[in-house]
Symmetry: C2
Subunit: 409 residues, 2 copies
């Protein structure tokens, strides 16, 4: 069976290498031979054993009816969106690792795939090599998913982990991540939460059936997290993680966000370190299930793309059904203001006077209070309270600095 | 589409309830209607809304060509084996949660399913509601699996957890597990490791392609684990877990075992508490991936069976391929005697004289040593050493009691 690869960057070259080096293993497993006919890339790759497969012309792929499966690994929306759409319309199955594309255009592309009776698969778009989308759709098929929480971005998790374990500042940890190749030169998409946001969109859509768009997800990154925050959380036996979350509300709508969160060390997600990712999904029958592994990396991501190619090749005539319809403006609600335990740091003149004020005004709100060593602050975790109420109570005080984080405790 | 359920115990009744109560959700998801035509059970169930579906006669199911899918939830080998085999031979797809059956007869039943071009699926047989077998076969399809380690039995994990957290004796923790319904009246299959052993067989066969039989897996339960062992492990920042493990050896053979293991708290498996299970799988491309969730329970297990029924219904004409050929006597090797870090407790007359002896004879073997509070013993973790060498060194000493455990450190 002929396939084409679009894009020969980190992931695309990994896909090519696995398809070539593992040709016989793959053939044995799917009872079919996979042959790369084209690799689309504008750059020159003259020194590879498979240099003859390269083309700069998308039409070669589009117009070749013998190419039944296309692996898209170009990244970004343009021209990936246009190319993928035209492949699907031409009756080719497409697999992709491109989260940006799926999060922005998934509903439309899946609709076309359904109409053309071909597959559009994107396991590698969330969690790299971690199997999560297929298990969610297939293995949890008898469940209603009620919510999920995940560590969805390896770069930010690496940075936060360095801050927690090595007491490194955010800036130093980011620099180290860049030196190790875990963060881009322009790290915005990672540290501002955009990358995690796209994965929340994909997971939320598969969980609840209706497309969630990136602009609907309340997204906050980790750039405002300081070493003091990390140490204050530690004094409560907690770590700070960038958590992507979505859940069904009782009115049929959902809430979805990405934000730094104070996570109890009792929670399995707190143990997810370095560039690892994990997604905890709650099904109404099965309870909590978690998927854990490397969220990125050439081999891991490419092997997930290849697994999708293999699945397409095995089931070319029997399309996977995905419940993925278009979203709407009012579907995602982010001002739920529900009662939650909040993590509060108050920085003022000195610990004793803060504590006196605190005990008078907030004593009933919290279960415990601690101070940061050597600093003029108190921090505490509230009993469940609406953020609006908490903000109002705190607004009465002057000459203090306040920092509030959500929790999973 | 007509289905039959064999056995109306905990899992079977759960399957019936989900298929009935979620009928429209399921129909929407698979674009097909599932109708329970028969439920096979020798007992009377007169007060159920679906009492009319019961039969005591297996032939009703076998001879009804409209029944395309059979869910087996009887447990045990007999008569499940005979019934499942005859259903497959009659061209019906079968799904099961019966680990004992799959571990003992999987190779034969899969061969028949292949010949008859029907499905034989058993996601619920390992890890209850945790998606693991399908992700392993489908999502990791481009990987060679090199090894796996798992906490595969909720009962023993509950008992060990109570010993660790609540300082409870083995006997008291077992009693509590029985009171909570987590352990059977006869707990042998759980506490002696037989249940975990069957799951190792299934996982090892799917990982490496050749049937592993229960009698080939070196199986040791938790009955010899004492509170002193647990506390000694704790003093090294470790917990004791019942670990099922298998890995590929360089000679094409494998090793497979179930045994109590001293696990570092740095390892994700150490955080798997209570009746939860987790399986850590290493793929050569994707690295470590872990699947975590409730390993048992009516709803979780039944929902996994129903997901398999749904998968069969969607792909009745396109069989899943499983690489599962018969095993042989020499395939599993358990006397590898490889170099490992071992956890050693030596109980003698008093700590000081033990330590003096230890430092003279074993100083070079270990990185650290500790004593149990109030007890006349030392414990240490060796540098990597063959168990045979360690045993020989220890055999020189008299009047001491020695306890050795394997580690994951």
């Amino acid at each position: 069976m002929n396939v084409a690869i679009m894009g020969h960057g980190v992931v695309g070259s990994g896909v090519a290498e696995i398809l070539i080096h593992r040709n016989s293993l793959i053939a044995e497993r799917i009872k079919n031979d996979i042959n790369i006919k084209y690799i689309l890339d504008l750059r020159e790759f003259n020194d590879l054993s498979y240099s003859d497969k390269f083309t700069k012309n998308f039409s070669d792929i589009l117009n070749d009816d013998s190419v039944k499966i296309v692996a898209e690994a170009m990244g970004g929306i343009n021209p990936a969106y246009d190319f993928v759409k035209r492949c699907l319309l031409a009756g080719k199955s497409v697999v992709t690792s491109n989260k940006e594309l799926v999060a922005a255009k998934g509903a439309e592309l899946i609709k076309i795939a359904n109409e053309k009776n071909v597959n559009f698969l994107f396991e590698a778009s969330v969690g790299g090599g971690i199997p999560v989308l297929r298990p969610m759709v297939q293995c949890l098929a008898a469940n209603e998913i009620t919510e999920f929480s995940g560590i969805l971005n390896g770069t930010t998790n690496f940075i936060l982990n360095k801050m927690i374990v090595d007491n490194m500042s955010f800036e130093d940890a980011l620099k180290l991540a860049q030196e190790n190749g875990y963060a881009e030169k322009d790290p915005t998409a990672d540290i501002e939460g955009h990358d995690a946001c796209r994965k929340v969109c994909i997971l939320a859509t598969l969980s609840f059936g209706k497309h969630v768009y990136p602009e609907q997800v309340a997204t906050d990154g980790i750039t405002k997290i300081t070493l003091d925050d990390v140490n204050a959380a530690d004094s409560f036996g907690c770590v700070i993680k960038l958590i992507g979350h979505a859940e069904k509300l009782t009115n049929g709508k959902i809430t979805a966000f990405v934000r730094p969160t104070v996570v109890s060390r009792e929670n399995m997600l707190s143990g997810v370190n370095g560039v690892f990712n994990a997604i905890m999904i709650t099904g109404d029958q099965t309870g909590e299930v978690m998927f854990y592994g490397k969220g990125a990396g050439k081999e891991a991501t490419a092997s997930a793309v290849v697994a999708d190619v293999m699945d397409c090749a095995k089931h070319l005539e029997s399309r996977k059904y995905l419940d993925w319809c278009d979203g709407d403006d009012n579907y995602v609600v982010n001002d739920t203001d529900s009662e939650e335990k909040m993590f509060v740091r108050i920085i003022g003149k000195d610990f004793d006077s803060l504590k006196a004020t605190f005990q008078k005004e907030f004593g009933s709100l919290t279960s415990s209070v601690t101070k940061n060593e050597f600093s003029k602050e108190i921090c505490f975790i509230t009993n469940p309270i609406k953020k609006s109420v908490l903000n109002e109570k705190l607004s009465r005080f002057e000459n203090i600095e306040i920092k509030i984080l959500h929790t999973m405790i």
